[in-house]
Symmetry: none
Subunit: 165 residues, 2 copies
Amino acid sequence: MAVFLSTYVNKVDRKGRVSIPAQFRQSLAKSSLPGTIYLWPSLNHQALEGADQDYLDVLSDSLESPDLDADEREMIETFIFGKLVPVSLDNEGRIVLPRELAEFANIGEEASFIGRRKTFQLWEPNALKAHEAALRDQVVRKDISLSQIVAKAQRGAAGRAGEGA
Amino acid sequence: MAVFLSTYVNKVDRKGRVSIPAQFRQSLAKSSLPGTIYLWPSLNHQALEGADQDYLDVLSDSLESPDLDADEREMIETFIFGKLVPVSLDNEGRIVLPRELAEFANIGEEASFIGRRKTFQLWEPNALKAHEAALRDQVVRKDISLSQIVAKAQRGAAGRAGEGA
DNA sequence: TGGGTGTTTATGGGATAGCATGGGCCGGTA
DNA sequence: TACCGGCCCATGCTATCCCATAAACACCCA
């Protein structure tokens, strides 16, 4: 599955086209449908989410899981699959941002791509900055550090391994 | 996984290139992706963090852990993976410092590499000196010693082993 | 022990290819 | 006929590759 990293700010031209960052494209090349990405409005932010075919397959499979509540399933069916737009890359590696989606995320002349590993998000650049500033406040307030988080996750994993034995 | 030790100060040329210290490169040779390192802005300092592929894999796995809060996960996705830049070494063992990252850490004509075992940090040299001075103050004030720390960690390990039995 | 030699490292610059971006053309459609 | 979307071409910029140099270092041999 494609892996998306880093942040890129690209222009949206008069025709509504944006270049997909080259790094993202290289990653997409490994996907099972390299010339197409899927976009949908984020559930939690005024931004767009994007992913490749393989990610959607996984998502689709998890909908079959009996562990999901009916209303969780209903939400995903409606808001993800119901809003999903497949867009294809042109020869220059650009997509046309569907107007509806661009309006939802308030994207005008520029768009920020931010990688989130298996998916990426598309933001209006200033909105993204504001979002990041808010998050960074939390990092400071809670005094979070990376090594702390890794340690926490690994302690948890070790604990679960112990239970099993 | 690569191990990074010691401090090195190298020049940043007009194109934004820096030599990775030879010692770091030799360590990287054992990594699963020897020609590439990953850089991102530190969560806690005005500096950059760097690591190899293997460390990132561990980090990525930690994100799948159910022990993390949703907002911790969101922070890591945004601030680590969202900012993470893969940079590859050229034939001379140099990388180009991504401009936003150099600006974040206020790095100009010189950069200090400081090994932190599994990761390393990149600082503007004077900023690093100031940081070290501040830290050393704390060591004195809190009367910290190495043997103390080792003893403390070993007491803790013994305790946890006891629980398990 | 000291000089010499070869190698590795850090650094600089020029050439080249790739990328983001903009504009134009053509065919279909309302 | 006017518009819209899809395709191709043109441009400037940036990053990548390649080669050159100087200093530091290790090694060898007299």
